[in-house]
């Protein structure tokens, strides 16, 4: 299943200028793996830690959240706090 994922624009330089990419993924874990595979320059960014927002719900670290083609998906920088 292909899903579209929005990247933060600072990652354009690592995706050939794209801010929105399409990858094969049915879960957040598959999404991150697919991004690292299809856009290898994103791998260190993903390894450093990212979060994923699915329809506005921010998934801080779970790799098992299901994804569907109609979900609005955003890659975000990893959340932490004080």
């Amino acid at each position: 299943m292909r899903v579209e994922v929005h990247l933060w624009s600072g990652l354009r330089s690592l995706t050939g200028g794209l801010e929105k990419v399409s990858v094969e993924a049915a879960s957040t874990g598959e999404l991150l793996a697919a991004l690292a595979r299809d856009y290898p320059q994103l791998a260190p960014v993903i390894d450093a830690g990212v979060s994923v927002a699915v329809d506005g719900r921010i998934i801080a670290s779970s790799l098992t959240e299901p994804l569907g083609p109609d979900n609005e998906i955003y890659l975000m920088q990893r959340l932490k706090g004080g």
């Binding site: 929005h6 933060w8 624009s9 600072g10 990652l11 330089s13 690592l14 320059q41 260190p44 960014v45 450093a48 927002a53 329809d55 506005g56 719900r57 921010i58 998934i59 801080a60 670290s61 779970s62 959240e65 609005e72 955003y74 975000m76 920088q77 959340l79 932490k80 706090g81 004080g82």
Partner: protein, 750 residues
Amino acid sequence: MALDDHKTTGFKFIGTRPDRPDGLDKVTGRALFGADAQAPGMLHGAIVRSPHAHARILRIDTTAAEALEGVKAVVTRADFATGLSGEFGFVLENVMAGDRALYDGHAVAAVAASSALIARDAAKLVQVDYEILPHVTDVDAAMVDDAPVLNDTYADATVPAGLHPNVVRYHESGHGDVEAGFAAADLIVEDSFKTEATHQGYIEPHACLATLGADGKGELWCTTQGHWIAQKTCAALVGIDTSQLRVTASEIGGGFGGKTTVFIEPVALALSRKANRPVKIVMNRSEVFRATGPTSSTSMDVKIGMMKDGTITAAQGVFRLQGGAFPGAPMEFSAMCAFAPYNLENVKQVGYDVISNRPKQAAYRAPGAPMASFAVESVIDDLCKQLGLDPIDTRLKNAAREGTKASYGPRFQRIGLVETLEAAKAHPHYTAPLKPGQGRGVSCGFWFNHGGETSVSLALSEDGTCQISVGTPDIGGSRASMALMAAEVLGIAYENFRVTVADTATLGYNDVSHGSRVTYASGLATIKAAQDAVAKLCKRAAAKWGIPEDAVYWEDGFAKPSGANAGNFDPIPLAEITKDMGSTGGPISGHFEATPEGAGVSFGTHIVDAEVDPETGKTAVVRYTVIQDAGKAIHPTYVEGQFQGGAAQGIGWALNEEYVYGEDGRLQNSIFLDYRVPVASDLPMIDTVIVEVPNPGHPYGVRGVGETGIVPPLAAIANAVSAAAGVRLRHLPMSPPRILRALRAQASEG
């Protein structure tokens, strides 16, 4: 989580204000903090610190120190693990320097001796030969072409080509076309701002007691916001298996994000291993300031375009944060939070993480957000003034709502910003008359909040009382909140619970008490653990009645048959079931482990009145009101305390607190006498309004409240002070000298 798990009204215990469970211990001095631990044969540790901002370490001679009577061990970097990378590598470099001292106060060696006095004397005998290197402590100066290079390998793949090697991370996000948006504006305000580094200012200095044997088994007692991360980090830094180190969190005297990492703990463990004795280290205040994490200092540019009716047409911000000598300044949060309160068609935010010769920054409540909010909300205030608009109406006009595309990308779920603004507008404070020399400021603020790995265990006793083990150190009243949530599920009184912060050997992994996550995540886990216990209680009642388990339900502390078909049985109270639990199937407990991912974001709106003395530049905050969305206030008194604490710390940050570095790169004000935090006489009574817009990701609607409260104060106070002084203040803190300079500059400009 199934919707039928949710409950947002009709509470019996939630929302009440019972006595705090740690109250007696704290007022009688019985509570055990980091420095209160003792052990037979205990040694005392002292750290040798660099007096230089940047220097190559040529040689460390420990001979004289080791020869001093009473000295049992001296450690340097050679006594720690090698080959660490990533954050562990940065933390190791920070807790014990390698080949270079990177800031004034950087640890370079440590001593353990039979008394604290001997340890301090021995530390002075450690001879360190330095080659002094050029240094830089200012964020803008660290980015210019000829700035001293701290490390040319830290920059990650996101940093655009051509920037100075001290720029180690880069963030850019937004949507729309800001140039088109600015072209559509009736008025554009563009301005630049700076904020100085501040410290979290917790009362309790870092302290620990460590034991580590030659067998690789260790014990650590420390003041921390997260003992599992302390366990994991310390084990890596001293090169032992994680599970062989048991860490117990002491009572904590404040953290605010500053105790989410380790500083002295790995050093104490390394000393203990070398001396084969327990080692205690307690920082003095100067060490806390010089060597633990303050906030980033910042330099920011913000540009906003607005139409005459108050509609924002475009917004753009550049946020430069220095985070000390290592990557990690929270510039992405500055960028993502800056414009989050507003529904913007065209927005762009850029962040730079810059390294400098200062201590490694640490989180401080909503890291990165307060500074960005200061810059953005100051510009909005200027726009409102120039266009003759009401500041709250203007914010309402542009406010983010459910479904709004956030400035950082995704659409908001249910949020409560509008409710906080409407409550602010309706509050008597907003329309109260001001006296001459006074000004009023308002500001909104946003923070994400967090879930994180969480484990909770709950055990019932034969007498019908209950013990709850959580793994999140209680930094904001969580023991009371957990007891209230469990009481709501089990239907027995709050007083029947005892909540304990368990050590790392007795509970599953728990993320740090940070990100305003504890009441949300540990609370959710406590509710689920209590529901697990309730299911077992119902099963025992079903067995007693000889009916199916699903024919029993739980209400107000009783097992009850679910209807006439289930049978005509008298309800059984909890204590009646637990009385015989050993002989009816064994102990009854409940457990829950998960990484909850439904932490709801939160917003706040603050109103501040300030008075400025134009002769001295001294500012008095004369009235303050905090309005914030808590989702659901479990224990309202603690929620109000969090709101008030955020405002109090914000007042210090806005008006007086700052790290002052000399030309030599050394910290000039490393004690509370010279680093001025607000005291009670500096503060007005801080009024609070709790807004409750339930978070759909928590069974009772909870949103974290620990961090959002420090986001609006800097801007709200700056807007009030600027109104009172008649001049825009662009540099925090707005200390009397800075206010006088601004007044004189305005006078000289005519």
